[in-house]
């Protein structure tokens, strides 16, 4: 099953979904085309995670990749999130902004697939 097909299947049970965002991927835009400073929903496989150990500012970075591009999803205030692991596929909804390297999405609403 392709990554978008899995996202499509998942959007049906998206908890706070009122209307699908963007066509024709049933709510998910391609990361390469994701507009800035707008609420978007993206999906992708987690390629890398970066975890901050105890004494630092708790953040968890996850770099996701949907085949069109990459995006870093940043969870502030979290050290570890069960399921946010390398190799998992997630759908994330939030606002995309510029990061030092590539783009990032801060504190998204997410769903593990």
């Amino acid at each position: 099953m392709s990554i978008f097909a899995r996202a499509k299947a998942a959007t049906g049970v998206w908890p706070d979904s009122t209307a699908p965002i963007g066509e024709p991927t049933f709510g998910c835009v391609e990361i390469a085309d994701a507009p800035m400073r707008e609420l978007v929903r993206v999906t992708g496989k987690i390629r890398a995670i970066r975890m901050q150990p105890q004494a630092g500012v708790p953040t968890l970075h996850a770099r996701i990749d949907d085949g069109t591009g990459e995006l870093t999803v940043v969870f502030l205030g979290r050290r570890q999130i069960p399921g946010i692991e390398v190799g998992r596929v997630v759908v994330a909804e939030g606002v995309v902004s510029e990061a030092r390297i590539g783009r990032q999405m801060l504190n998204p609403v997410y769903r593990l697939l």
Binding site: I46, R47, R50, M51, P53, Q54, G56, H61, Q80, I101
Partner: protein, 669 residues
């Protein structure tokens, strides 16, 4: 303990404080002896007797086969009249030899800093003609080794016919032996090679003296009386003049071909001029003396053997053995007795050692080429014992290949031989003539006449060789030399462009502003002591961003690392776990690094923990991921690798675990 050894050991404590030497170096020391220090270079100088042995064994040894090669060609084209033409042809070759020696006396005086043909040609005609001269000489040095060793083996086989089937392995073994001797250093090999050279000269002179005496009182006879008397025409005993022989149908071509084959006798004359710096001071005077000694010795031996051959009528056999010189010896000494054995052993030794001349010259000449950026730079490097080790090895390999390819047959190799030497003779003599013309030093008129005649004669001989030996194999060299020269020119262009690129605005580049950001990545597989070392080191650095990076090949390993990491509590050291689906750790790390440097404003340092094993075989038990990472990162600009060593087998594992260490020690116990 010799003086050199004690010197090396006196110097030793200051240079190496407790730092262990690697295994291969310890083995090298065991085999080659202690390393010579660079200031010992001066002491590796040769006196005249040793120098004659080192530099002239090639030249003198050719008397062992030159007569045979002339006869081989002559008998084919003119039959038994060959024996009447032998002495005139030998004299013609000696005339060439005489002028070459006179010319080289000039060269040695004008160019006492060595280099011979290469340096002379470079000085007067520029780099490209010098490459031609040099490459021709180099190919000839390779051939010298092959021919001498093959001829030496033939001499041995003449003495012990049972060794016949082992000619090729014998020859290769001798090459290896000589190469090993040369790797140990010039001086030792010089002494070792002096004895056989003088032994051969002595026994050769004995053969000639005794032979001539026997000839004068009429007691020297044909070796194969029954065979030959039948086919000889009337009046043969009184000898046939040159004119008659020509009349009898000896084509001029055949004679020229024989002359060309005998020209091999002259090869090696240039050896001394290439090695003037190896002489004791005053170098050029000593070199000139050695040159004269060499020329007179060669002339005497060669002419003497040729004269004896006209009386003995030795037969050059197709198989190459028994050799002509051995047949002469057999006849002179009246059978296969002790003196005959001594002659054979002497011949064998000098031929094998003649190869040594090439081993002295080839590496030096190659180092000149390399110094001018026309050959691989490795050839300029002096090795453990102050010799050009790489040049020695290259020569040994090339000549071994040649020996194997030709089956160690002297007459297959001879047509390839001499053409290169005469090319370089011609070029260097022309160069000398030009040198006299431009410099007009004291007595330049004499010099220009000598070098002019030398150049002309070499050129004529070169033409004769090229024409008469072309179909027999000279074409190989005539094809090979231009190809090699083209190759060297290509090499040179590469070196030059590299040099230009490396030098271009290097000072400005050193002072240019540095990149804005510095990121340090510590590669971690799991949290062990080698990783701990790298983390400790990383904490001493002050980059803009510092993190550990782990390629997730095995999900369990990654999970355990993540757990260990959260317990560490290092505030400045986040852990990044990167998917590594194709299990190529080095590629994953390289991609992560590339991501950082891509924008062109970041300098990345990658710390690679590397376990150092106490025994070589310990390393075989592990895959060298750290080495592969290092190699992969070398291709990325602004990716800088630091290896953090962890020495195994130097510390005992801790037995009391600290709380932080809990998960680690759980796994150990």
């Amino acid at each position: 303990m010799t003086a050199t050894e004690s010197l090396a050991q006196d110097a030793a404590p200051a240079v190496k404080p407790q730092l262990a030497e690697p295994l291969n170096y310890r083995m090298k020391r065991r085999i080659l002896g202690p390393a010579l220090t660079t200031d010992q270079l001066e002491h590796e100088r040769l006196g005249i007797p040793t120098a004659v042995a080192v530099f002239s064994s090639d030249c003198i040894s050719s008397s062992a086969y030159a007569t045979e090669e002339i006869l081989l060609v002559l008998i084919k084209s003119v039959g038994l009249f060959a024996f009447s033409l032998l002495v005139p042809i030998s004299i013609a070759i000696l005339v060439v030899l005489f002028f070459l020696i006179m010319s080289y006396r000039e060269t040695i005086k004008e160019y006492p800093t060595a280099g011979g043909a290469y340096m002379v040609t470079r000085d007067n005609f520029g780099l490209l003609p010098a490459q031609v001269a040099g490459v021709s000489l180099l190919t000839d040095y390779i051939l010298t080794v092959s021919v001498s060793v093959a001829a030496g083996s033939a001499a041995l086989v003449s003495l012990v016919p049972r060794l016949g089937p082992y000619t090729v392995p014998l020859s290769v073994a001798f090459i290896a032996l000589i190469a090993a001797g040369n790797l140990k250093g010039v001086k030792e090999s010089g002494v070792a090679f002096a004895i056989p050279t003088y032994f051969f000269i002595g026994i050769g002179l004995l053969v000639i003296g005794l032979g001539l005496w026997k000839m004068s009182n009429g007691s020297l006879h044909y070796l194969y009386p029954g065979v030959q008397h039948g086919v000889w025409p009337k009046g043969v005993e009184h000898g046939i003049g040159l004119k008659n022989a020509l009349f009898y149908g000896a084509g001029l071509y055949g004679i020229l071909h024989a002359f060309a084959s005998g020209g091999a006798a002259v090869t090696g004359v240039e050896a001394i001029s290439n090695g003037v710096t190896a002489f004791r001071k005053p170098e050029w005077k000593n070199a000139r003396k050695a040159l004269m000694i060499m020329g007179v010795t060669l002339g005497t031996l060669f002419l003497g053997l040729s004269i004896l051959a006209t009386r003995v009528h030795p037969v050059p056999f197709k198989e190459g053995t028994p050799t002509v010189i051995s047949q002469i010896g057999q006849s002179v000494f009246g059978g296969r007795n002790l003196l005959y054995g001594a002659l054979q052993i002497g011949t064998f030794l000098i031929l094998v050692l003649a190869a040594n001349t090439s081993f002295a010259d080839f590496p030096r000449l190659a180092s000149f080429h390399a110094g001018d950026n026309f050959m691989p730079k490795q050839l300029t490097k002096r090795g453990h014992r102050l010799v050009f080790s790489n040049g020695i090895l290259a020569l040994a390999v090339a000549s071994s290949i040649l020996v194997v390819a030709t089956g160690a047959k002297v007459d297959t190799l001879i047509p390839l031989y001499a053409i290169g030497v005469f090319t370089s003779f011609t070029l260097s003599q022309c160069g000398m003539a030009k040198h006299h013309l431009t410099r007009k030093e004291k007595g330049w008129q004499f010099g220009i006449v000598v070098n002019g005649i030398g150049a002309f004669l070499s050129f004529v001989v070169l033409l004769v060789i090229a024409v008469t030996k072309f179909v027999h194999g000279a074409w190989v060299i005539m094809l090979l030399v231009p190809i090699l020269v083209a190759l060297l020119v290509r090499l040179n262009r590469q070196y030059e462009s590299e040099a230009v690129e490396l030098e271009h605005e290097a000072r400005a580049a050193a002072a240019a502003p540095v990149l804005r950001r510095h990121v340090v990545l510590v590669t971690v597989d799991h949290l062990d002591n080698s990783a701990a070392r790298a983390i400790q080191y990383a904490r001493t650095l002050a980059p803009d961003d510092l993190r550990a990076i782990h390629a997730a090949v095995d999900a369990d390993v990654s999970k355990r690392l993540a757990t260990d990491w959260t317990r560490l509590g290092l505030s400045r050291l986040p852990l990044e776990i990167v998917e590594c689906a194709d299990r190529r750790v080095e590629r994953t790390i390289a991609e992560a690094v590339f991501r950082e440097v891509q924008a062109g404003e970041t300098e990345v340092t990658v710390l690679v923990p590397q376990r150092q094993y106490r025994r070589a075989w310990h390393a075989l038990l592990h895959d060298n991921t750290s080495k592969r990472i290092t190699e992969a990162l070398a291709t990325i600009e602004h990716a800088n690798v630091t290896i953090v060593p962890y020495h195994l087998g130097t510390k005992r594992p801790r037995t009391v675990p600290t709380p932080d260490d809990a998960s680690l020690s759980e796994r150990i116990h």
